[in-house]
Symmetry: C2
Subunit: 353 residues, 2 copies
Amino acid sequence: MSDIEDKKNSLIEKMGSEIITLAHGSGGKAMQKLIDQVILGFFGQPNQGPLEDQAIFDLSAYPNHSIALTTDSYVVTPLQFPGSSIGHLAVNGTVNDISVSGAIPLYLTCGLILEEGLLFKELIEVIADMAEAAEQAKVKIVTGDTKVVDRGSCDKLFINTAGVGVVNNSLNIRIPNIEVGDKVIINGDIGDHGVAILAARGELDLQTTITSDCQPLNGLIQTLLAEGIPIKAMRDVTRGGLATVLNEYAQGVNLGVLIQEAQIPMKTEVRGVCEVLGLDPLYLANEGKLAAVVPAEYADKAVEIMSKHPAGQNSCIVAEIVEDHAGRVVMQSDFGGKRVVDMLVGEQLPRIC
Amino acid sequence: MSDIEDKKNSLIEKMGSEIITLAHGSGGKAMQKLIDQVILGFFGQPNQGPLEDQAIFDLSAYPNHSIALTTDSYVVTPLQFPGSSIGHLAVNGTVNDISVSGAIPLYLTCGLILEEGLLFKELIEVIADMAEAAEQAKVKIVTGDTKVVDRGSCDKLFINTAGVGVVNNSLNIRIPNIEVGDKVIINGDIGDHGVAILAARGELDLQTTITSDCQPLNGLIQTLLAEGIPIKAMRDVTRGGLATVLNEYAQGVNLGVLIQEAQIPMKTEVRGVCEVLGLDPLYLANEGKLAAVVPAEYADKAVEIMSKHPAGQNSCIVAEIVEDHAGRVVMQSDFGGKRVVDMLVGEQLPRIC
């Protein structure tokens, strides 16, 4: 059993049945106890001596690098779902937003909004998951904030994380680089996160073995860069799904994106759920997938490198950049027909992340 | 009328009566419109071309500096209150958390959690206030995220901001530096923010002209440093009030802190409200106050410099560090008696920031 797992179990035994009160957000004694015992117990203390309101770190070891900064709030429901939790998501989601720029993620913040009445057990599990995910992604959670709102003013627990990374000034991974002929590569099956959340909500009588694909992508991306793949543009594929990212590419450079339906990597079970529920898998959320645009001549090599990485099983070319249908994404179906894949208009599944 | 005010009014006229739906958080078309028209309309776009998920900036103009990173979530209710709003607060609060380390705040993130059904008017007012506060504090809001939760799952609107600043490596403003004889200086009247919020809630039949003291402190702090004041430790005085900060000092170095009640700067009206409602002004929240610890021989000069700054009217020495009652804050009353001022135990006023 890991260190974090040990700490989690002993803390839950000790105080798991206590509940969060407004005093835990007051700046006073109760909050101090919460921070000391739960938060710093898992994240560690960034500085010696009394806790400060800000983390200070030295980046002089990274000359010729710029700073990458990002933020995401996490409001997924339920807090725990097959294969992952809001805690893992709050770390990996922000790590991935930093990483797709080519940056190495280093430091994270953690802003908690807790609902009065939340069980300490629920909070401890989430914080332990954040610690576990940070360890796996090799980032440090160095500063934070805790607010408590009255019962009914939030749904259990929301998390915001901001992330800071360093990006080599020689890199320029941005949508305007995309050209006709480039290939879009994805690092595995789409839709797992969306289906896992749907099943976890229990509103539908949906039995599935699918688990969320939530994972950090920094290792995979840094491997691609180290192997010399000249990635031109990259996004992680999250809410809005693959369709949304490909539309951002098409609109961003006013070129066409052509998907081959037969090439979309997807588990049979996910396909089945989509057919039964009338969902389009291209819009299903993912939390451990990226869509990288690379020059055609590097595409096979990129797929090969990615496939060998634990975060890249089932990697493949999923689309290409074309001159036709500028600004639009079109899918060539298995039966030869073509259809436009637009940006999501309504909301397929709320509070997915 | 300022540029921001103009933009706000024309946008409210155009779309103020629309409401936020779950689709505004879906990653699709509605969200794109919200970001383009409301968010980027006020914050500007950090990069040319399509929007990226992370902001990249170069800090090579700051050699011999480290990075300061902080975060705060804002859940204050109501969203608008006398003298300020959650939008001003979300910028100034984070600017101040960065600044009290001696760092120059540069970049902010903005994470929004919106409740389905929120009026666009309410959102636009808050975003315009954030833009106004950022302009005043000379920081840029460079990256963000928007989530929408179903009606009843949050109370209108929560904001998280994270801040990045640069701090000169020659500075070392930290609690362990505090020594016996040092003076604690505050930059003006305490309790205004707490009383303004209390009045704005309308639950009590409280008529007051007090407005929130919400303001950025970076200009004041940089002036003190530029004038050569060797600040030893510094905190902004927010939730938990002056009592909390002084207790953090006392406990942090295991020395005593002695307050002279007669020296506490406070408006007569705030004193009156406290007497009527049985509140202790030492625990009332502030949003534009700092408590700086300086060597005794610099105290008068520091007060003089601060008093000349717009953010430091009514600055004064409020306490001193003593050997007695180690780890505790004691107040010498106007009538000669002494009482211990402990950390806040319960919750005096929830959702104050």
